[in-house]
Symmetry: C2
Subunit: 400 residues, 2 copies
Amino acid sequence: MREHNLALALREIAFAHTPVSRADIASATGLTRATASSLVDALVGAGLVVESGPTARPRGGRPATGLVLSSTGPAGIGIEVNVDYVAVCVMDLAGVVRHRRIEGGDWRDVPAPEALARAASLTADVARSARRSGLRLAGAALAVPGLVQAPYGPLQLAPNLGWQDLDVLAVLRDAPDLPAVPLTVDNEANFAALAELYAAPAEPGAPRSFLHVSGEIGIGSGIVLNGALVRGRHGWSGELGHLTVSPDGPDCTCGSRGCLEQYAGLDAILRAAGLPAPRGTSLGGVSAVERIVETAKTADPSMLAALESAGTALGVALAGALNLLDLDAVVLGGAYARLAPWILEFVEQEIGGRLLSAPWSAPQVRASLLQADAAVLGAARSVVQGVVDDPASWVARVGA
Amino acid sequence: MREHNLALALREIAFAHTPVSRADIASATGLTRATASSLVDALVGAGLVVESGPTARPRGGRPATGLVLSSTGPAGIGIEVNVDYVAVCVMDLAGVVRHRRIEGGDWRDVPAPEALARAASLTADVARSARRSGLRLAGAALAVPGLVQAPYGPLQLAPNLGWQDLDVLAVLRDAPDLPAVPLTVDNEANFAALAELYAAPAEPGAPRSFLHVSGEIGIGSGIVLNGALVRGRHGWSGELGHLTVSPDGPDCTCGSRGCLEQYAGLDAILRAAGLPAPRGTSLGGVSAVERIVETAKTADPSMLAALESAGTALGVALAGALNLLDLDAVVLGGAYARLAPWILEFVEQEIGGRLLSAPWSAPQVRASLLQADAAVLGAARSVVQGVVDDPASWVARVGA
């Protein structure tokens, strides 16, 4: 019961836009003032909450002590290994990104332990910075582009990395640099959707049922229905990139034919525009999405045609997803956020023409504000949210 | 609190395979014997539960009075209007179908009020029979093949019936014969999935996350994830028939091109086999599915090729749905249950080749046991389940 009430009290502080008092918490939760006060003391003692000075009292009266989430309390680390970059970040309890690192590369021809060792090394860097900022590391979450059994693995398949049947957390844990924190893993598209969900509440009326598309070399998606991630039976939902656009289309890395990735993935767009796909960015080259954006900005006809084809194929697949799922919105994330000026129109056109319910309620299609950062932010957010949802475990862990 | 406890007590009786006693209910729910006994008296008084004679006492002791769901208590009516038939049934509280009527026809060129008047007339028939059996009608639920806002409408679109923007329950209510009972409406594929869900628990380990496909002239589906129907934002989920199989394929009744229905709907199968689609069965003709089954049984090469094409297209669309949703099973329902011997192999082949996760956990694909009855059974079940979930409202309604 106290565990539940600790979470209730912390949620009141976390969701408020201004500092709240012990009395505010008592009245919002229906707890007595004494109970609320004792819960707050425990949250302060465990470093989750700090006193911020007197609250404003709009109706007058004596100002009370304001409470806000601590910016030196527990923090979560997000780690993303993707086909052409590795990214890490540290997020504090209030959802603010405090440290981040991103490094281009090409991990397609590299053994998994080497890619994960690089991720571990960047993680060690941001962990040191975080500790210097006074943060305490609650855990780290790894985002991978493929089928993985969340939250502890194994990874079944990351087709674009060439990884298969891998205990990905064990490999990460074996890297010499990795700081000693609890680890979890999930699909990058699920984490990206989670980040979008948490980024949204600030806008009133923001859609709470949406598909977040992570468009990179590969294409994944995360399904959010009524504010909750739809993960499927094994956590393998959202494999939009392997929806068939044309049954006899080109071979895919997954073994099937005519998958969306072969029409609308970044390499496929470069190929269709007659450009070589850049292999790696670590030696000063530009990434696939930068190459596409640069070329599109020159109004190169081959590139514009390639982007139209990609947008059309993406729209066909998304219309299918929307016919199945009945959502409010599609968020174009990852590299698609940058390509939106050239693809959005064609995506909307296919959805308008192919979604049975479009004449009654056409879903909004928009670019993500988080862009390629979404997955790593969502990974860090999952750790932070774990603490907010269950502060009692953190209180027990720090012995407060 | 008493409302909640009434539901708890009724659930104990509903889910038991043998009669239970008042003491069994007390011990299973943690209520006192006096409370349990008073709740049971209310359930008996409202006609929901009857005493069935003494319970077996495996460990000896005095036999107690056994309690079972009443077979003369509240009952639900299911009504389905589909492209080539109208069906109605009455289900009692225990889930037993007590009366049913089905009538072939062709409702494609018929105004909605006429089709719904026919449904109302059949409903009046079974309602009279139900009353003669001592049942009390708790309500009726209408299943329609199209987009509809459950539970009260309106209907947006039923492409194969040619209905659009129709207050379908108001039209049904205007039919002179309709008995005065509360009415609700939902998509037939959602009701069919619900029927499959309730049919399944009898088998141990039965899949609880599945897609139920309703294959008729049109093709719909209902999504069940972890034992609950995924209805989407407006109740429009599961429109499998309008997933694109080939972007430049044949025109569909919905206005799009290359929809699954144009490859795997019953009319499409007949067309591909070079046979005319039967228009209506009310004058002694055979239905589309009967025509297909008859012809397939003669090993007619055109029909076998048409069924292979249909199974392949269905498999492509289902692989897409499974890539998105990550489910345990696909249930081929409606007419597909009868076509399974000729299409199942091709469906499985496409799923095996196109579902990214198939090598790790291939979903089961099987024919529905309920066949074309599923939607009307699910509709009736939704009414009955409403009473089981909220017996207090029924108690209040009958003034017990």
